[in-house]
Subunit: 494 residues, 4 copies
């Protein structure tokens, strides 16, 4: 990973020094196990571990030797054997194959990296939980298809983000269980030279259980779902980031990525405050998908193993972790510093002209309408018509839409005029429906006679003040959001 | 492809009847070629083709035979041999291998499918060109990072869409050239039984040239870039679709997918007009990427060929074409029926409070400021500050942001109050800069002393009426869009 | 999926009839729940369900209506409402949104499909277990890097295949748990109209629990890992298929796909017996990866939901299942009918000239050599040298390698001569090492003086008959495979 | 890319120093262009370029500034402005946006990297061409489905590898043409501040032409097919690598990766010579596909541009190039040092017992048989039966296959006995067919009466010595490979 995005915590796990030290750990554990099982003389482990732990591994020597013999693990064995007297040499890397040494080291690197993921996940979860509580009563306009749908609190949106991530982390934890297994079962996994008891004891020392049924290596089926689960986290982060970008769109932003006091948004347009962090998150998710694809490919190998997976794992795993940690940190920062504009959230609702309650309005109308002979479908169509009525363009707007400028002179003229034109008063379905003021819509093919019939029925229905009260009530946030407490209880246990 | 999305034109190309008829075409071409080259008796071709063209291929017989011998091409040969007398049988499927028969048939199916792609591409290009001309002077607020950037015409946006697609189609046309080659060179491609002259002549009859260097089959390197180019088209369509969805977001939509007069947007929310077609286009693009991935995998094969690619090609190619054609047609419909709202485009510009011209404003200031000792960086910072000043929240907004409701009762209260609050008058950088009315911004750490200095300089600069005129000019669409004609000339040749 | 690969069991789950019937199930469950909770009059459920269960859903009516209103769920509601009197209509699809109806239906389709996967998985597991037991003592040459490595039984290879699949199925079962959740929580998931208790009760009736934190739909994070787990199965099948193809390579095949008594391998080469089923499995795995990629894309959506995922799910899920079931059935057939050649397995071992025991040979030598001053590295190098010695090409072979034919006449001559040349006697490391008959190798840079020294030591070591006995023992299958019982116990519990 | 796989040539292109120097080049070109067009005072370019070319860019200063303002290009502008007097500052990065500066720099980095690809491609092409000529008359057994198919020269196999790569490079060259375009057209690509003539002149100086129709950036549709073409190269290399691995399988390898004189193949099995380089090539191809996937994702962006593509391009492009160059170099080394065993190639053919000519044998029989009443299908079936006859297992082999060992003791016994059993004499279809010695096969359901009839016909046919001569001829390499010259002429022009 290039320096710009590399995460120190990850680099420290995946560098050669750490890897070779973990290899040494396996080698020593095998000797310790052999001694525990009476297969090598008492004291062998102590002697060897004392010598080898004292002598730091010489990376340069190792690299040079590898170039000569073209085998990294053997080069490591040679490096270590330099320090052992002949009588002890026969106990070092004895009866085992390269991947007996490497496999548990690799699993440990995964585990350690996953702990870091978990750590930042928890931080992010906490941030989202905090925001969910903070904005529990901050009402906003929920959106489906990018269109205003129904009301919710911004807190509830944070809850769904948190919940999505929790799905990912649950899956990660489930598939991570595979990491409790490893193997020290010889060149093709059937204990040709090594005894199964040695595997068991060595792995116990290293904190693993034997995986019975390995070949030369652990099946990559164990690791692939971890990459997938990490990638899911990235896709969820991208989803959250996208929701942030959408809310931050200029016009009447409902929130924005925090902007540094010395930040510059564009080299040419000084007014810009761009949501670059959430955008970058999408880029990172694109990368994660690529790394995941590489790792999934590694399941395939020939017979008792071929080595295609090796170079891929050296790169795709750490780079995937860099990507995930980078994006988790970014998202924590974005959430913690999000500039939230409840005032604009309110404006957006108001500007929907009552449509934010169309769903409930339709339900009320269905119910109230039955005794007046309104069918369910008619109730639905009345609300649709009203919604279209309140957004019927003004005459001026219609003119503009129909008579497009034919030159820049005309464009300028139009533009200057528009600057002078005040915004028209807006009406709401909350008002026109009880009054029975439905009109023909240019966009629907409702018949005039139906409209007249409906208007009459509506007037009758809402002549009853109880019905009108019921009607008004459904346009209140408190009414529409009343059930969110179920979510808070279930998700945050509050 | 399921019926819902299947395209008749594509199904007709990729069904078994058409495929087997194309196989027959190859077989007959080989016999014709042999005769032309004097390798079979005169009249053989006429006799065989007359018999076989008369007898339609019996698909059921073929399928039954295939089940028995587990070889589709051999089953086809058996089906055909039924109608030939023994003396003619030896000339049918003689000296060639299955893929000698199938390869050019496959290429022809690709070619025919690509012609349909081309046809709809041209239709879409025409639609986009028409829109580009129609909206040549319809000004809108261009967006980068989802934030208002600079002005452009909506016509120009259509031009870039058209141009992106043209890039894709150019690439498609380039990589399609590979389809002029095919092979009839025997079981491993070295003419073990067949003579190279027969290949050449047969392919000539079929409209191809020999590809020298095939194995049993053509290298899939020839076909893969075609799938990639088709997938690019899908990604471009997704990009266009996304721009449409973004502009269609509720609030002050600048355009919307046309909505049918009898359409229903939601089962529960009658007011909804969702951009479902552009959203579906993204789904289709996701599919295309999957099919492309399958097809790219097919490059790999063992030695002179193994058969993994076969099932993939039976599915991924036609399904990819269904996807592309479906999406092209969808986009043509969307573009042709797009509801465009130039009035809202104007409002969006106006509501940017002059920031739409920040780039040019900075250039003017840099130039005018030099003689007053303003550095380039200061000019940049003045525009930034002004942009932030004009969007400084009102006291009321600040209060709302700082004091979040603590109960739904408070939420209701806030909501009802907000409905009564009139929108404040807005100011523009166009006004405050010449007047030297910069103020401290809560979001930037500009120092008070600098602001004072700058305000003084600004007042001096714009005391000069010539400078003020220059300043005003840059806020006009005609000024800012003047160079778009270059694009119209280059892309539409108008 | 095209007919050739479609699986009846899957088609029956994913067709429209089944889907709409499942939608109806949800609708009825909601009404039943409302009644149970006292929210609709007693008897409502019985009346409605009686009417609607009696009237089969009219697919054609539905499709026509959908075309008109462009909303499939609403069209379904209209179709059903036709049969309900007005008084009952208000209870049907009341307060819920399309995906409240569809989501649990979708989950049920997944569940049913997964049961079929599980069924065939169990069949395949049984076949592999049976083979593992049958070939428990059938020795073969294990391979890493496509090169002979150590001995194993063929039964053990079957065990590792079984074990890999078990990893996949374990993961599948873990991630499948997500399917116990579903949602009926309204248009944006915060129970705007519907009461949480209704969701809970409806889902209970349908066999689900509420997922708290959904938006309009369940987060696709729940489903994506299922596709991944299915794809892993495909990749494991591809791995097994590849091992079968590798063993089936002509020359001295160790096993082959069963070949039908009426099968034909090639249209032009009558001698062919091609492993077409395992090859097809790789093709199917390529497809699965594509479908998985599509499904993973679906995690991303805008805010409370956009509809990109819809078309993808209609195609990718059933097609993925078709692919998996097809390949599981294929593999069951291949394993059940595999022609296994233990005679050729033995030949392959014998022809390795003792190298099959090189690992154990090195261990023995390391141990025996210590008292003669041999280092561990020298023991390693002695075995390497011996292995290269026994494969030193004959003089004739060297000549052929060095003097390549310069014309086809020379090629013919060489070819005819080679047919007459008897294969040379072969020697084995088992023999030359105890005799101290190491020689210079043309491929290693071992020094003559070392070789002489080593030969002397070897002769000394093996002068001791006890050492020679030990040496001979390690070349016996019974010795080398002795620990496989651990695997049989752990995996098959025998 | 980690050091182990990083390619110096690529690192030098993609490091920050080079990138920033290329940015500077663009900035200076714009000033030069302005001067050429009379838009800035004469001498401005010379003054600025003299100052800035003298002062090397301070990477640390730049990084620090970037951290502060969170904008890399602006930080670069600030870094440079430090050295310019105020009067010159206004000409630097004037009227253009970040990506006006970066876009052509990026294209240049791609171009330079592609030149390196081209260089190594040419080297590899030369190696393959050399091998093709060297082994023009070295006969081997071509394989389809991993099964012996027909004869070819090893030279011809090299030719197909070369040809596949040439397809890739042709595509690369075609799609690379897009790199001749770039853009300097302002923040949203419509020349808001900058004049189109300045773009044209600046790009001319930099070696590009304007792309009319860009947004803030070039459409990524231009670059994506380059990544795809590079990935195709990797897939072709993987295909070649796989063919090498398959031929190198132990037993009777026909070629092997050259093995170093000091190389070690395994830490535990000293006899191993593993094809690790070709295996690694597959790993690298897996990576390339991941990078390609990332890059393809970049086509999508919002409206006039969002910044997701930025981080992806910083990583995926250089890493893809590292991968490609690494693998090209690896393949050159593998091909140049391939150990080829023509002796084993001959043995493999001989051991096919005449089946290598089954295709031509069937053709001859079809023709000769007509006058004896043999149908085409019968000729095919005779050759199939003969091929199965010559591979009928010995009685001993049948016994081994039927009576599997039930204990390791039995296994040992079988093993020791097999070592003593001499290989049986083999017969060939070349012999048994003319003699009419077809027999019942245990694997086919040919009827005894047919076999008797066929044997009689065969004896009659080959009683004629002319027919027998014709028959013998088709088993000669010179006969079967005669047409390969067409390929040499077409591909190598020899």
């Amino acid at each position: 990973m290039i320096k710009r995005y590399a995460q120190k915590e990850i680099s420290e796990i995946w560098n050669d020094t750490n890897k070779l030290n973990l290899w040494l750990k396996t080698e020593l554990a095998v000797i310790e196990a052999m001694e525990n099982l009476g297969k090598v003389p008492k004291g062998t482990y102590e002697k060897i571990s004392e010598i080898l732990n004292k002598e730091p591994i010489d990376l340069n020597w190792w690299l040079k030797e590898e170039k000569k013999i073209r085998h990294d693990l053997n080069a490591f064995v040679h490096e270590r054997l330099r320090f052992l007297p002949n009588g002890l040499q026969i106990y070092f890397h004895s009866k085992i194959t390269s991947f007996d040494t490497e496999e548990s080291a690799f699993a440990r690197m995964l585990k350690e990296s996953l702990e870091i993921v978990e750590k930042y996940y928890l931080e992010l979860e906490a941030s989202l939980g905090k925001s969910a509580l903070k904005y529990r009563y901050t009402v906003m306009y929920g959106k489906t298809h990018g269109q205003g749908a129904e009301l919710q609190s911004f807190g509830k949106r944070c809850l769904t983000w948190l919940r999505d991530l929790r799905v990912d982390i649950d899956i990660l934890e489930k598939v991570e269980e595979g990491l409790k297994y490893s193997k020290i079962s010889g060149a093709i996994g059937d204990y040709g030279s090594i005894d199964p008891s040695v595997e068991k004891e060595s792995l116990r020392i290293l904190g693993f259980e034997p995986f019975y049924g390995a070949t030369q290596i652990m099946p990559r089926e164990i690791y692939a779902p971890i990459a997938q689960a990490l990638t899911q986290i990235m896709l969820t982060l991208d989803k959250i980031a996208t929701a942030i970008r959408l809310g931050a769109r200029s016009g009447q932003s409902i929130y924005q990525e925090g902007f540094g006091r010395t930040q510059e948004g564009s080299s040419t347009m000084p007014h810009k405050k761009n949501p670059i962090s959430p955008e970058q998150t999408e880029g990172m998710a694109r990368m994660a998908r690529g790394y995941n694809d590489m790792i999934m490919s590694n399941i395939k190998t020939w017979e008792e193993r071929t080595i295609e997976q090796s170079c891929v794992e050296r790169i795709a795993w750490p780079d995937l972790f860099h990507t995930v940690i980078h994006s988790l940190k970014t998202m924590i920062r974005v959430i913690e510093n999000l500039s939230v504009y409840p005032d604009n959230m309110l404006l957006e609702i108001i500007e929907s002209r009552g449509c934010y309650a169309s769903s409930e309005a339709k339900e009320v109308l269905k119910k109230l309408g039955v005794s007046y002979g309104l069918t369910s479908e008619e109730a639905w169509k009345i609300i649709q018509l009203a919604s279209f009525n309140v957004f019927e363009p003004t005459e001026e707007a219609k003119r503009i839409r129909e008579t497009l400028p034919k030159s820049f002179a005309e464009t300028d003229e139009l533009f200057l005029k528009a600057q002078e034109t005040p915004k028209p008063d807006s009406i709401s379905i909350q008002e026109i429906i009880p009054k029975g003021e439905l009109r023909i819509s240019s966009q629907l093919d409702t018949k005039e006679e139906n409209i007249q019939k409906w208007n009459k029925i509506l007037q009758k229905i809402f002549f009853n003040p109880k019905n009108l009260d019921r009607w008004k009530q459904i346009f209140l946030p408190s009414y529409l959001l009343k059930n969110e407490e179920t979510l808070y209880r279930a998700i945050l246990d509050v």
